[in-house]
Symmetry: C2
């Protein structure tokens, strides 16, 4: 006997297609939806549709935005001589939260991962190079590209790849530091992080 | 500066309202939706709407169904003398998966939890009592009610509450066994489960 009626199974399947949602979570979410008032489901539906209708890639930095160029690229107060390269739009948010970075961004929408079939052509990197010269950047020469891809194998490979392409253009390329997270404990840190923390030590 | 444009923030908020989805997961899901082809989003939208349009509570057992009474309640092959009481529709699936239970179900849609403000009136219990007599059950008297609420404080309280109401009607009420999960290891079992496993020991 089929345990769920067809519409319920279908909704469970739709939730399962979302990243990080397994069968049990999908079931739970579907039953949550079943108990929601109809207006709430319509709010959800319209939010889903609206992003597809209104959100585009910023032609300058590839950020997801409802105005092109995005608010970062068109802001008169940001430092146009700095470009921070990140993998995903939500990585940009992590950098913004520091409130210390005031430059521009470039979003790759991924990282090099041969195992997942992501090669250089899948990254949104081509439009980074024209940005670096003054004539394409409101008259400001880019002096430094900060590569803030993740401290993972994929992120490191991507950082090295980006650096290899940018350095010949005479622009400084830097990589965010790796080491002990602030507030952590040496007792629980993994050996690779500890190794980085030792290698990147600095005089006090 | 607002990090996300309004439609993206709104979709993130909608995902955050779902149970078990925190801010980071909501971000990830929203960006996943942004990258989906429009048809896929429409499939999701129609699955969401369809459950709201087609799915109702079974008037007999409270199961979520697109036909009323549900396939269990209207099945001629199920044993109508047995009713298994569960908290949620997905708990029914766990019982069905055993393939050994052939009786009917009754879904409470919750468990007693004073801390979450769920009292007896919030449970869908009232329609259980008329089911127990033969005239309301296709001429078959219910002889046993199996209470398969979760082995938690709330589930136990609910089981005791249900039993206290049904026993005076002269119907046998049973509770599913608690003990060591099959395939587990005594080394890792918690003391409450171990205590139950000892208390419920049986001769071999």
């Amino acid at each position: 006997m089929l345990e769920y009626s067809e519409p319920v199974s279908r909704l469970i399947d739709e939730f399962k297609r979302l990243p990080g949602i397994g069968h049990k979570s999908a079931q739970r979410l579907a039953f949550h939806v079943l108990r929601l008032p109809e207006e709430r489901v319509e709010d959800f539906v319209s939010a889903l549709r609206e992003v597809k209708q209104k959100i585009v890639f910023c032609t300058v930095c590839n950020n997801l935005t409802d105005i092109d160029p995005c608010t970062f690229c068109s802001s008169p107060t940001r430092d146009r001589s700095l470009v921070c390269v990140v993998e995903e739009p939500y990585n940009l948010v992590a950098v913004e939260k520091t409130r210390s970075y005031k430059g521009l961004y470039h979003i790759l929408h991924g990282s090099l991962s041969p195992i997942r079939g992501v090669g250089p052509d899948e990254l949104m990197l081509a439009n980074l190079f024209p940005r670096l010269s003054a004539e394409n950047n409101d008259g400001v020469e880019v002096t430094e590209v900060i590569v803030a891809t993740n401290p993972t194998t994929e992120g490191e490979a991507t950082a090295n790849y980006v650096a290899r392409l940018i350095k010949p253009l005479g622009v400084k390329v830097t990589r965010i530091a790796m080491g002990m997270p602030v507030g952590s404990d040496l007792e629980f840190v993994d050996e690779v992080t500890m190794d980085k923390a030792l290698a990147n030590r600095h005089e006090i």
